[in-house]
């Protein structure tokens, strides 16, 4: 009797485990296919890093952690409307609903991993000076005036603190080729003269400095 009872319990347990396992797999597939927030976040983090800290693939994938939600929303819309040219992100963004865009932007705002690191250290002193004082002789304003002394940005002005060095260099050297495309003017126009007036080595210095900010 006892043995039969044990056998029954075991069989029930095995069945229950089997059902819950297949149920779990189906839930996962369903979530991935219908595009719930969790599945979409996992999709973003595949390239931008598990904690949104950024990642170096063929392209440098920028840090999204701690980014201003207004900036993320504005950029995703710029990809969709082709005001910002990018071979990968236009495809990524065009399937996102406005409410999904808001939810994603809101999520990344609250992540705070340490900076990705890896930038050359040699010119961070010059970078700090440019960041805090600008280059009056070249008509370059202090970055801190808009991006904040800590580099955390505000509203549609992006956080730069902890941003990947190769991403920063790529954006500042190719600003007008990627941003502000088409005929409608957007906020990217504010940075165009500044990016244009910085030399390559000045860009590298600023990029290195902000990449180490927390």
């Amino acid at each position: 009797m006892k043995a039969v009872g044990l056998k029954l319990i075991l069989q029930t347990a095995v069945l229950a485990a089997a059902f819950s396992a297949s149920g779990h797999a189906q839930e996962r597939m369903a979530a991935a296919r219908v595009g719930g927030l969790e599945a979409k976040l996992e999709y973003c983090k595949t390239c931008h890093g598990l904690s949104g800290q950024g990642y170096l693939g063929w392209f440098p994938m920028p840090r999204l952690a701690g980014q201003q939600p207004e900036y993320i929303e504005a950029q995703l819309k710029a990809f969709i409307e082709r005001r910002r040219a990018n071979p990968v992100m236009r495809n990524v963004a065009h399937v996102l609903s406005p409410s999904m865009i808001s939810a994603l932007a809101n999520h990344f705002q609250h992540l705070n991993p340490p900076p990705f690191g890896g930038a050359p250290r040699g010119s961070t002193g010059l970078g700090k000076k440019i960041y805090e004082e600008g280059l009056p002789e070249s008509n370059v304003p202090a970055c801190s005036a808009c991006h904040g002394p800590d580099g955390h940005g505000q509203n549609e002005i992006p956080r730069l603190a902890g941003q990947l060095y190769p991403y920063m260099v790529g954006q500042l050297t190719g600003w007008a080729k990627e941003r502000g495309q088409g005929t409608s003017v957007d906020t990217s126009a504010i940075m165009a003269p500044t990016a244009h007036n910085l030399t390559r080595s000045q860009i590298e210095a600023v990029a290195a400095y902000v990449s180490y900010l927390h």
Binding site: R33, G35, E42, Y43, K45, T46, C47, W58, N91, H94
Partner: protein
């Protein structure tokens, strides 16, 4: 007598130095231990992937993952754990540089009917299904960069097996996003990607 002994010693040292130069790696025992399975031209053979033209940093990272037993799919456990067990980092680096310098040839063994579908997934992903673009990390011509491997021209069987293994929970390099990528791929998408990539040169 003493002089002859010295000359022999010098010759022996010279011969040893020659045998460890990258240029002569083609004849070294360490290389032969690899090409025994990976093909005499290092272009891959059955389950052993092509090493020719692979990113040297990727070869080094994979040899380390075999040595440390983190890459754990069945063929890795069966063949590569043993092969990399006593491999020192310097030999691993020399082997990586040697194989990376050999021009790769595409396997061309996928299903041609799926190649254009595979190219579309490779370049754009399937955003609606949360399948990421392969291009973003592996490059426009699947050539790889740093320790991100070259995929263009690898054998259909090998790419298919790797994508399936990640979905089944096997491990590779710690921190790799590939397990997350692969869990979203269905059989049809794996078939298309492996077919497309086998033809890329």
């Amino acid at each position: 007598m003493k002089r002859i002994g010295l000359e022999i010693a010098v010759l022996a040292i010279f011969a040893f130095a020659l045998s460890t130069l990258p240029g002569s790696a083609g004849e070294s025992a360490a290389v032969r231990n690899c090409t025994w399975c990976h093909g005499t031209g290092a272009q891959g053979y059955t389950v052993a992937p092509r090493l020719a033209g692979q990113r040297p940093a990727y070869i080094v990272s994979q040899l380390r993952s075999f040595h440390e037993r983190t890459r754990d799919n069945p063929f890795s456990v069966q063949y590569m754990w043993g092969a990399a067990a006593s491999l020192n980092p310097y030999t691993a680096r020399d082997l990586a540089n040697y194989f990376a310098s050999i021009p790769p040839r595409p396997a061309n063994d996928g299903n041609g009917a799926f190649a254009s579908r595979g190219r579309s997934i490779y370049m754009d992903g399937i955003p609606e299904a949360n399948i990421v673009s392969c291009y973003a990390c592996h490059g426009p011509n699947a050539e790889g960069i740093r320790d991100i491997p070259r995929l263009g021209g690898l054998a259909y069987f090998y790419i298919k097996a790797r994508l399936e293994q990640w979905g089944q929970g096997y491990h590779s390099t710690p921190g790799s996003p590939m397990p997350m990528v692969a869990t979203h791929l269905g059989a049809e998408e794996v078939e298309a990607l492996a077919s497309y990539l086998s033809f890329v040169r």
